[in-house]
Amino acid sequence: MNQILDLVRVFAFLSLLTVGGGMAAFPEMKILTVDVHKWLTFPQLIHLYSVGQLAPGPNMMMIVSIGEWAGGFLGAVLTLLAFFGPTAVLAFVVARLWKRLEKWPWRRSIQQGLAPVSIGLLLAGCFTMARGAITGLETATIAVGVLLILLQYKVNPALLVVGGGIIGILSFLPK
């Protein structure tokens, strides 16, 4: 039961950090789920996040896997609620208030000020993840390859993630 309470507390907290995207919370998620509560290892966290890119819907659904590991079915459901509930309520309240805030001059300032910070958090999350995911020349090549393809062409990113997996099987399978 304590485990479930921890899950709810951790993921409700993490949800408030996801400004600009889920990856913003990744460094803190690594500390809380891997180092503090030891629900999974760092490579496992990276693997679940990466496979989560193939899931339909928002790209942070791997939190459900963590909840399921640490607390079974109930853990999965409560983790989902804890991670999406608080921000959903906040978004709902803001949706109601927004019309009234339209003339508020600081609204633009907040949007402009948060943009570089949220991109910075995304990049910081990316570096945290790269520390575990980029282990040599092959993985670096896959990452750069995916980056260049996505900047150049309109491709479904999920296809590239699957492609990365196929290249991984071909190059890392012990002979």
Binding site: E28, S50, G57, G113, G125, A133, I134, T135, T139
Partner: protein, 160 residues
């Protein structure tokens, strides 16, 4: 997001294009994932609280079920050489995917060299100085918001 726009604006005509952009910018400056915040905003506009609830459930449940199954499979077969080899490649590809998002967002929403300074400060605070994400978010966020404070000239411009 392009897919969401196509469905909501073009096919269903639930929101107008200008409203979509507006909703997206709200979604981005609120905590919460962009996709789920959009679901809440569009749901609220169409049919209030129930609409929001329906939208976020529809957005989350398929992926949640998928990832619960992936988690169970991974726990049982994660050590298999095929799985771990494949996952190494998948993780590397995901890093490339996130980097491409960083580049695209920077092109779209960073204006001027100070925005790049704020972005760099955020990265350094989290990755190098090991500051917690909330502390960084509040610290750098407040400086950046004050930097972009409402300017008098802008107010005069909007006067009729």
């Amino acid at each position: 997001m392009p897919y969401l726009r196509d469905r909501l604006v073009t096919k269903r005509q639930w929101v107008e294009d200008k409203e979509f952009v507006e909703m997206l910018s709200i979604s981005q400056s609120l905590p919460g994932l962009n996709a789920t915040n959009m679901a809440i905003l569009v749901g609220e506009k169409l049919s209030g609280a129930l609409g929001s609830l329906a939208a976020i459930l529809g957005m989350c449940l398929p992926g949640a079920a998928f990832m619960a199954m992936v988690g169970i499979f991974y726990r049982q077969h994660g050590d298999h050489p095929w799985t771990s080899a494949g996952l190494k490649g998948v993780a590397a590809a995901a890093v490339g995917l996130i980097l491409s998002t960083v580049v695209q967002l920077s092109k779209k929403s960073l204006a001027g060299r100070w925005d790049f300074v704020f972005m760099a400060l955020t990265v350094i605070a989290v990755n190098r100085l090991h500051q917690s994400v909330p502390r960084t978010l509040v610290g750098v966020g407040i400086v950046a918001i004050l930097f972009h404070h409402p300017r008098r000239t802008e107010k005069e411009d909007t006067r009729p």
